[in-house]
Symmetry: C2
Subunit: 201 residues, 2 copies
Amino acid sequence: MNEFPIFELGEEPGWKVLGSQSLYEGPYIQLRETQLQSPAKGEVTWTVAHRKNAVIIAPRLKDGRFVMIRQERFPVQLTLWEFPAGQIDSVETKSNPETIVDTAIRELQEESGYRLSDNPDDLHPLGYFFSSQGFTNEHAYLFLADNVTPASEGSHHDESESIVEVGFFTPDELKAMIANNVIRDGNSLSLYARLVSRDLI
Amino acid sequence: MNEFPIFELGEEPGWKVLGSQSLYEGPYIQLRETQLQSPAKGEVTWTVAHRKNAVIIAPRLKDGRFVMIRQERFPVQLTLWEFPAGQIDSVETKSNPETIVDTAIRELQEESGYRLSDNPDDLHPLGYFFSSQGFTNEHAYLFLADNVTPASEGSHHDESESIVEVGFFTPDELKAMIANNVIRDGNSLSLYARLVSRDLI
């Protein structure tokens, strides 16, 4: 089905950055206007929102239920059920595997109060995805974490976050929440797509 | 499983915009710093990227194969296989149903060269999702379009776009492309999650 090569992040030939000017520089987002050369289109000028990479984790208990958090999301003014997630504290285009896994471990505990099992095989990397590839370089690494257990220290939320509830859902409940638009964030939906496509759920 | 009410966009009580200042104003993105009151957290100040809403369509042929496009994505410097998608030409927080469906019909043909069947039951609305709910209000409405057929006029790409290929994939091929990180954009993955959760694939 694929007669064409599939390239990893930063590895597709024919792309070249010709120039770039800052439009806005803030702690959470940098906006740049960039002149690019692309393999097919040639020269283009594009406004790109630069953001830190992120990690999204689907934590699963021994009994098969998933751990989810309900979080206030200020840009959309809604409180949403989501898989735990967090930003990687580095602005590299491509994050290194150790930093990614460290972030997954930290964010899982901080947001949900659950921790990884001691068996490294319980952490399944499921690739990554771009949240909005037409306007930002933001991308997030996806994981399934099996056999998570309550952390003795509990959760420890970042001051800027507002997590109001932790919940536990069977695969059937999760499926119904997605079907009914209860779960409606790209992070959780993309991670679910990867879980299903790899027959992990 | 849900002892809590689920609110639609713009309908959750307890939210209030207290103030908002423009940080950057461009044709594709508006950045604002906004002071909000939230139900649980109280007063917060947040940087929000405002973007037009979008529509994502999974077009399916009579033989069960899905129509996808391969498109150059400038912010991530990759050429990606995706479901056809396009922005709604309106900046309303919540788009009205007719505008959404009109955009779906137009974008499907413009991007893929395929058109909707004459049977309105072939267009299945699958809710919406937020692309990156921590930093933008951008959200996209999801559809399955069954029994699409080639449009006599063919495709008609927007000048700013760079669609290099149209392809046809069976459900098994689609699943393998998602499992193997070939499909890695939030639009296509979120739409796939909805298709699976509603047993439409």
